[in-house]
């Protein structure tokens, strides 16, 4: 009986051993998924998608992604139909007042008149607003729901994406450090 013991024990230890192996794989998996940027957007680290869209406020002007290159900018996707966009508006105005990084608005699937009225009433936080009437450009940018905000560096690469209303915390913790450290490393 006692001679049998060790052999028996190895057999019963096998499931535990296999599980330990699995746990190692899963741990590696978790750390890898962190590297992947939690799959916030497959566009992170990739060049900003190209668009050529009409300017909402300057009739006849077309804005292209290439024209925006060469400096940091925040691309904010919004629409007058979107309740949370109203909620983040004050934050956007404060962001503009800080003068840290220019805001480019992407007015998504919206009525031009309503959008212009909205900006007149609430104040315009944007340097430029493009009108994505069909929603095609937003699809290229991988927008899931408004509001969404993308931070693009001077090389035209998306370095950060925020889903939902932009808040003070995201601004000070995620956006300001990226822009200022990027500027410092350049000079």
């Amino acid at each position: 009986m006692d001679a049998l013991r060790p052999r028996l024990l190895t057999r019963f230890l096998l499931p535990l051993g296999l599980f330990a192996l699995l746990a190692v794989v899963l741990t590696i998996g978790i750390f890898r998924s962190k590297d992947k940027g939690i799959i916030v957007s497959p566009l992170l680290g990739k060049p900003a998608p190209q668009f050529a869209l009409p300017d909402l406020l300057v009739p006849g002007r077309t804005v292209r992604t290439e024209e925006l290159k060469g400096r940091w900018y925040l691309l904010n996707v919004w629409g007058t139909w979107c309740g949370e966009c109203r909620a983040e508006h004050d934050m956007l105005l404060r962001a503009r007042a800080s003068g840290l990084v220019p805001l480019i608005g992407m007015d998504w699937k919206d009525d031009d008149q309503q959008a212009q009225a909205w900006l007149r009433q609430l104040g315009n936080p944007y340097e430029t607003v493009v009108a994505d009437r069909s929603g095609r450009a937003a699809i290229d940018w991988g927008v899931y729901g408004a509001p969404e905000t993308f931070l693009v560096n001077p090389q035209g690469v998306i370095v950060y994406k925020h889903i939902g209303a932009l808040d003070e915390q995201t601004w000070t913790r995620e956006i300001v450090p990226r822009v200022t450290s990027g500027a410092a490393s350049k000079s």
């Binding site: 746990a23 794989v25 998996g29 998924s33 309740g83 949370e84 699937k109 929603g135």
Partner: protein, 651 residues
């Protein structure tokens, strides 16, 4: 105020679950039998607190309280009341709360029937369940609190994901989770038996009905999910071998093995350590499924928002629970000895084959699901594993399983002579072969090599399952519910095999573009496109196409697939039109406006696909019948009395 109350109730529930685990497991450990008296009150308190928390969150959803972050992220004031209620489990935090609620309800059910169990054993079972509850409550409070507030409150919510705005969502997750969580009971029974260091036939008899109930719920839940994916997502299929689907399928396969292995332990006192291992595995795979779906380590079509901190938490929890259970297993299982033996052709051998094949099937699914993860961890690059891997490997273990089933149910316990039933087996096999050939070549004309094989096996299962009940009925013998349930479930499996074989062999899929007035022929059906019109719903608008379907010259149906644009999330969802005709499942999904008034439309004709879901329902009914057998109600009391003497009873 109410959200804070809900948050507080959740904290109290955590503490009570901790007490439940402490008194339940600790009491018998330090030989304080009186401690067990505290277990049930702790469970009752925990349940009341969990119910309170769920009620508070539901109130926030119903009253559109967008100051609660979870509500603001998953609801909207334009959302109909029904979906505001189901939105509760529409995302990670709330579905976790649902999981906890169901676990509490299962625990209460066990506690209500615990009177027939030895006191210390019941305490241990509830203690283990308390430990599981504790882990999930801690996880919720630490990483996924649904009661967090937004300051300032959102003016309106981001709306429930449009894919989830469907009656299917109302029933699929609760039923699926009931199945998942139900395996926690078998796990707890296994844990208690290992802590006690004793496992007899009475143990198997207590565990059996719980396991069968959980299995029936899981069967139903998986089928509902498959049905929902078929008609709502419009991807054109009923099973995609997606990680999330696999996460529910692996516990089902192991759970099926467990149901059968428990039968052997119950009737013959064999397979003890194997049954224990399966009980641990079934629930471990349920928890692993939760981990895979929510941690973001695997990319899936319907995964929850990924968060590595959550992943780390669940992983640590998994290591403690599963690692603990398997360590206990390695320590205690060698002590369990089975004296009885059996011959090769006996029923025990067939059930052993069943178990081995089901576990192999689960292992192949497991390997395929984790392959991307493993290859990534070993820096072998990303691989993607799909149906070309899953379909053949899964069939490899399922073909012998279904073939052996028909023989196995006619085998006797212990004795290995099959000669008694040889004639019946041959007769049913020949009948099945004839019917299958008729179906394959007569009705559907052609098919792959394996088509007649699959059909034969499916029909054979049904015929040979019917032999014994028909025989009993003709001789005027009673049919116990357990046998009836087994028969019904096996017939369900036979129907599933027939349905799966047919649909895999004869599916037609076509993408066509039509302008109004044009017709197209797909298979034996003709479609005429009448035109497009606008549709509007409570929180969406969109377009609907009208198609007149005819077969021969007879009208079959007018089908109106829609494409809906949801206002808040601006997501386009295809609302497919589905019609059943002569066993064929017709599916139309409206595509895009391809210009010049032409619209693309996806047409799919899947013969007998409905049988697959029907079969799952039949299997679940079979499980329910078997789980409510009188044997478990009456014999539990006597078994408990015998168990007090600690002598394993002989069947």
């Amino acid at each position: 105020m109410l959200p804070e109350l809900g948050h507080f109730a959740l904290i109290l529930a955590l503490l009570l679950a901790g007490l439940q685990a402490f008194f339940g497991i600790g009491g018998p450990l330090v030989k304080r039998t009186r401690w067990s008296a505290a277990v049930t009150p702790a469970l009752a308190g925990q349940t009341v607190m969990v119910v309170t928390a769920v009620a508070c969150l539901m109130h926030a959803f119903i009253t559109n309280d967008f100051s609660v972050r979870y509500v603001a992220e998953n609801s909207n004031s334009a959302l109909p009341l029904f979906y505001r209620v189901t939105a509760l489990w529409g995302a990670h935090e709330g579905s976790l709360l649902l999981w906890i609620l169901l676990l509490a309800l299962w625990s209460v059910a066990v506690a209500l029937r615990a009177a027939s169990l030895p006191v210390s054993f019941a305490a241990r079972v509830l203690g283990v369940l308390g430990l599981v509850s504790f882990g999930f409550l801690l996880f919720t409070l630490a990483t996924s609190n649904p009661f967090l507030r937004l300051d300032p409150p959102a003016p309106d919510g981001r709306d429930l994901n449009p894919i989830l705005q469907d009656p299917g969502l109302a029933v699929h997750p609760p039923i699926l989770y009931t199945g998942y969580v139900g395996f926690a009971v078998a796990f707890a029974f296994a844990g208690a038996a290992m802590l006690e260091g004793r496992l007899d036939q009475a143990w198997a008899r207590w565990t059996r009905p719980w396991t069968t109930w959980a299995w029936a719920f899981l069967t139903c839940g998986i089928a509902l999910g498959s049905f929902w994916a078929y008609y709502e997502l419009g991807w054109g299929g009923f099973w995609f071998w997606d990680p999330v689907e696999n996460a529910s399928f692996m516990p089902w396969l192991v759970g099926t093995a467990l149901v059968h292995s428990l039968a052997v332990t119950d009737k013959r006192g064999l397979f003890k350590s194997w049954t224990l291992l399966l009980a641990i595995l079934a629930f471990s795979l349920s928890m692993l499924g939760t981990f895979l779906v929510r941690s973001g380590v695997l990319v899936s079509v319907h995964s929850f928002a990924a968060d590595p901190s959550r992943g780390m938490f669940i992983l640590i929890f998994l290591c403690l629970m599963i690692g603990g259970a398997l360590s206990l297993y390695a320590w205690r299982a060698p002590l369990l000895k089975s004296q009885a033996g059996f011959e090769l052709g006996a029923r025990e051998s067939f059930l052993l084959f069943n178990n081995v094949l089901l576990v192999i099937a689960a292992a192949t699914v497991f390997a395929g699901t984790l392959a991307p993860l493993i290859s990534d961890a070993l820096n072998l690059g990303t691989v993607s594993v799909g149906p070309p891997y899953f379909n053949p490997t899964f069939m490899l273990s399922m073909l012998p399983l279904t073939a052996l089933l028909s023989v196995g149910i006619h085998a006797n316990w212990k004795r290995g002579r099959l000669s008694d039933s040889q004639r019946t087996l041959l007769l049913t096999l020949v009948a099945a072969l004839v019917l299958a050939c008729g179906l394959t070549f007569g009705i559907y004309r052609g098919g792959a090599v394996l088509t007649p094989v699959g059909e034969t096996l499916g029909i054979w299962i049904i015929l040979s399952s019917l032999v014994d009940p028909v025989d009993r009925w003709r001789r005027g013998l009673s049919l116990p519910r357990a046998v009836l349930g087994m028969t019904v479930a096996h017939i369900g499996l036979g129907i599933a095999v027939i349905g799966l074989t047919t649909v895999q062999s004869f599916t037609l899929e076509r993408d066509i573009a039509l302008s109004p007035g044009e017709s197209a022929r797909v298979g034996s059906y003709t479609l005429r496109f009448e035109g497009i019109k606008r549709v509007e719903g409570p929180n969406y608008d969109g377009v609907g196409g009208t198609f007149v379907v005819t077969r021969g010259n007879k009208p079959v149906a007018v089908m109106m697939p829609q494409k809906r644009q949801f206002w808040v999330q601006r997501q386009a969802i295809s609302e497919t039109a589905i019609r059943l005709d002569h066993g064929n499942n017709l599916l139309l999904a409206l595509g895009e406006d391809v210009g010049a008034g032409r619209w693309s439309v996806r047409v799919q004709i899947r013969p007998l696909v409905s049988l697959v879901w029907l079969a799952a329902l039949i299997m679940a009914i079979g499980g329910t019948l078997a789980a409510t057998d009188r044997r478990y109600r009456t014999s539990v009391a006597t078994a408990a009395a015998k168990a007090g003497s600690a002598l394993p009873e002989k069947a």
